[in-house]
């Protein structure tokens, strides 16, 4: 493990709890997906240290611009567990109102904007927002997360280039998990390291052991403080490994070796951090299992509660774009409702619009 940052005992243990939460959530969501209860899951198993360590140095007022696997990090910053699960079910408690695919989280309360499946778009969005924060004189840092594959996107170049020019208060967090779906890093870039790319944009670039939550924390803290002090952006590459498929639709055994997966299993971020905490005397060897049990029970309770929640009323389909639903949409909706009623898909609150 890297040099321990200056944290309280509670903060040290909190990092562990957050990592266990992410792993437990992944396990449960994947089970739900396999049983056809939710549609799609992108897990962060193996990346827990990279998520938790990167999010922890941010202040509540800071912003986090995410990719597919950062949902767990949002939980550590205040996204309620029930909202996370509601989003997976796209039910009536989903703050995105079912208008996002599963596993596409958002949380206004912790400045966690909804993300797009289109690779790398959050980079330019985040840079723009960071620039705006600077122009407004806000003391806010924007942490922009993306994968190794996104370094080949237009957004990466445009975003890092302008952030460098503008000295935007942001940190680029590249989660290099070795594989962009089935494209290996060797196929992705001829550069020695993704961090080398920072040089071209006039900012510091650093590669960190992404399976060491304390090392991640320390480097992120440096980068966040630099951004907050007006020193401009940096690129922090977290070298880690996605232990499961790209998503619930992917079979990684088709493109990577068991030996490679095994070598990373031996570097499991949770086990490493657990060993550190035990050695430091902050927990005993039963702590992890006990925490996991409690967390899984909490998750299951939330799942059952959210599974029972109704979907959004059908009429939400035509709301929120116009202040008053215009006639052509009301006509269409009423026709749609007839079909839905015939099929038994309509529920309370779906009533037709008066024309």
């Amino acid at each position: 493990m890297g040099e321990a940052p200056d944290l309280s005992d509670e903060q040290f243990v909190e990092l562990l709890r957050n990592m266990i939460m992410i792993r437990s959530l992944d396990g449960r969501m994947l089970k739900l997906q396999r049983a056809g209860r939710v549609g799609f899951v992108g897990t962060a198993t193996g990346l827990e240290a990279s998520l938790v360590g990167a999010a922890a140095p941010l202040l509540p007022k800071d912003w986090m611009w995410s990719g597919l696997r950062e949902g767990g990090a949002a939980i550590t910053r205040g996204l309620p567990l029930f909202e996370y699960v509601a989003q997976m079910y796209c039910n009536s408690n989903d703050s995105a109102k079912g208008r996002q695919m599963c596993n596409h989280f958002q949380h206004k309360g912790s400045n966690y904007p909804s993300w797009s499946s289109v690779i790398g778009t959050q980079i330019t969005h985040g840079v723009g927002a960071a620039y705006a924060s600077a122009l407004r004189g806000e003391d806010v840092v924007h942490s922009i997360h993306f994968g190794d594959g996104a370094t080949s996107s237009n957004g990466f170049h445009s975003g890092l280039n302008l952030a460098g020019v503008w000295k935007a208060p942001c940190v680029f967090v590249c989660i290099d998990n070795g594989w962009a779906i089935s494209v290996s890093s060797a196929q992705q870039t001829a550069a020695e390291s993704y961090a080398d790319k920072a040089q071209a944009y006039g900012m510091p670039g650093v590669t960190v052991d992404g399976n060491d939550v304390l090392a991640v924390y320390a480097e992120m803290q440096t980068a966040v403080e630099r951004a907050r002090a007006g020193g401009g952006p940096s690129l922090v590459v977290l070298k880690t490994y996605r232990m499961l498929g790209h998503s619930s639709s992917d079979d990684p055994s088709k493109y990577r070796d068991d030996a490679e997966v095994q070598s990373w299993a031996e570097r499991d971020p949770l086990k490493r951090y657990e060993a550190f905490l035990i050695e430091r005397g902050l927990i005993d060897s039963s702590e992890c299992a006990a925490q996991e049990k409690a967390i899984v029970a909490e998750i299951d309770e939330v799942i059952h509660e959210q599974e029972a929640a109704p979907p959004f009323p059908l009429r939400s389909l035509v709301e929120d774009v116009y202040s008053e639903v215009p006639r052509h949409l009301r006509v269409q909706f009423n026709q749609f409702l007839e079909v839905a009623e015939r099929r038994g898909d309509a529920t309370r609150g779906d009533g037709a619009f008066p024309l």
């Binding site: 449960r28 089970k31 997906q33 396999r34 049983a35 056809g36 209860r37 549609g39 799609f40 498929g245 998503s247 619930s248 639709s249 992917d250 079979d251 088709k254 299951d300 099929r343 038994g344």
Partner: protein
């Protein structure tokens, strides 16, 4: 009771193979406990129990290929009422293991009178065969040409079972579609492509844009028949085949020089009616590939024999498919003679964006009233009808009436053609 349907475990998978049951009927299971291993085109995964309970029935066997949405096991979760999770249509028969029921065919809104419309179609459209990846692999292994396989999956997608059935020469996969035995009078479904489609697009554009009206004129061509007979002999000396068409073309050219508002086209972008002052006649020609309209230009300045020669050459090359693209462009007016086969009048569709078109009908013998120095007498006369369609946006009925009246005048007295 929960009827557990095989979920779409990989964003758009169509079916899964039951690899291995991890429980037996009667087993008590916990929520999230692995129940069955399923292999899809994308991955092999363990499908877990949706709730605590007792497995009451496993409905499919290991090795079976099951469409997504079929009930694969029943789980008593103490919930009483049956079919808790099943969709309304899901009361699938406890499938005999060998017969994965095809997903219910979507009720075809298509013409109920056409049984051929629901016959299994090779799932090819435009050369693209729709098949799930495992079906493609099996097809390669068994050397089955996928374009010959009828698909029983959703939207005619070929499933693995279809390929296997095709390979063994058996009937296609279990299917609700009746197989229609070929007969000589079988209904056909012909791909709507190529020239036919181009013609259709041109016709739709014309009929939906131009405001067609048609005026029909009867012309006494008794004298023209006689003149043409003589011209035919003269043409033959030079190896030129002289039909009636050059006379009609000449008359049309003369008429259009006199009534230029029917000769040209509308330039919609410029919002201008273009009247070019020269007559380029499109001649609708029936070819093995369909209707093609080659153009003979500057008809007003050419003699009858020259027109006959050009027409013979152009129509021969058009039928042989050797017409050059530039010879198919630039018409200012068109003539169609499809009516010479039958019919007495027609409503020709304008060769868009021309202003007008003339349909030429066959010559018929009929009694006619003729003025002679001895007074009116009834004679055997020969008549030809002309159907002229005009875009009413650009010209009016009076223009068209004057034009066809003028055609009649000069064709009834062929000497006037030299005007």
């Amino acid at each position: 009771m929960i009827e557990f349907k095989l979920p779409d475990i990989g964003e758009g998978t169509a079916e899964g193979e039951i690899v291995k049951w991890l429980v037996s009927a009667g087993d008590a299971v916990k929520e999230h406990q692995a129940i069955v291993e399923v292999m899809t085109d994308k991955a092999t995964v363990e499908v877990p129990a949706p709730a605590d309970g007792t497995i009451t029935e496993l409905l499919v066997g290991e090795g079976d290929i099951v469409p997504v949405g079929d009930v694969i096991f029943r789980l008593d979760n103490g919930g009483g009422a049956p079919a808790q999770e099943s969709a309304p249509e899901a009361a699938a028969a406890p499938a005999a293991p060998a017969a994965p029921a095809a997903p219910a065919a979507p009720a075809a809104p298509a013409a109920p009178a056409a049984p051929a419309a629901v016959a299994p179609q090779p799932a090819s459209s435009g050369g693209k065969v729709l098949a799930v990846p495992s079906a493609r692999r099996v097809a390669r292994e068994l050397s089955v040409d996928l374009s010959t396989v009828a698909g029983s999956g959703r939207n005619g997608v070929i499933r693995r079972a279809d390929v296997e059935a095709a390979a063994t020469g058996g009937a296609a996969a279990p299917s609700s579609h009746p197989v229609v035995a070929p007969t000589t009078a079988q209904a056909q479904r012909i791909p709507f492509r190529g020239v036919r489609r181009k013609i259709a697009e041109a016709m739709v554009r014309s009929s939906q844009t131009a405001v067609h009206f048609t005026i029909v004129e009867e012309v006494d061509v008794t004298d023209l028949v006689r003149v043409r007979q003589k011209a035919k002999a003269i043409g033959a000396e030079q190896g030129i085949k002289v039909t009636f068409m050059p006379f009609i073309m000449k008359a049309v050219a003369n008429g259009l020089m006199k009534f230029p508002m029917l000769n040209g086209h509308l330039d919609e972008q410029a919002e201008e009616i273009v009247l070019p002052g020269t007559v380029n006649l499109g001649i609708a020609t029936d070819t093995p590939n369909g209707l093609i309209v080659p153009v003979i230009s500057q008809v007003e300045s050419k003699g009858l024999l020259q027109l006959a020669a050009e027409l013979g050459d152009l129509s021969e090359r058009t039928r042989a498919g050797r017409v050059r693209p530039e010879e198919l462009r630039g018409s200012t007016f068109s003539i169609t003679n499809a009516g010479n086969i039958g019919g007495t009048i027609a409503t020709p569709i304008i060769n868009f964006p021309d202003i007008a078109i003339l349909g030429v009908h066959r010559i018929v013998k009929r009694p006619g009233v003729v003025d002679t120095p001895e007074g009116e007498v009834i004679e055997v006369r020969q008549y030809m009808n002309f159907s002229c369609s005009v875009d009413h946006r650009l010209a009016d009925g009076a223009d068209a009436a004057r034009f066809v009246a003028y055609l009649r005048q000069i064709l009834e007295e062929p000497a006037l053609l030299s005007l």
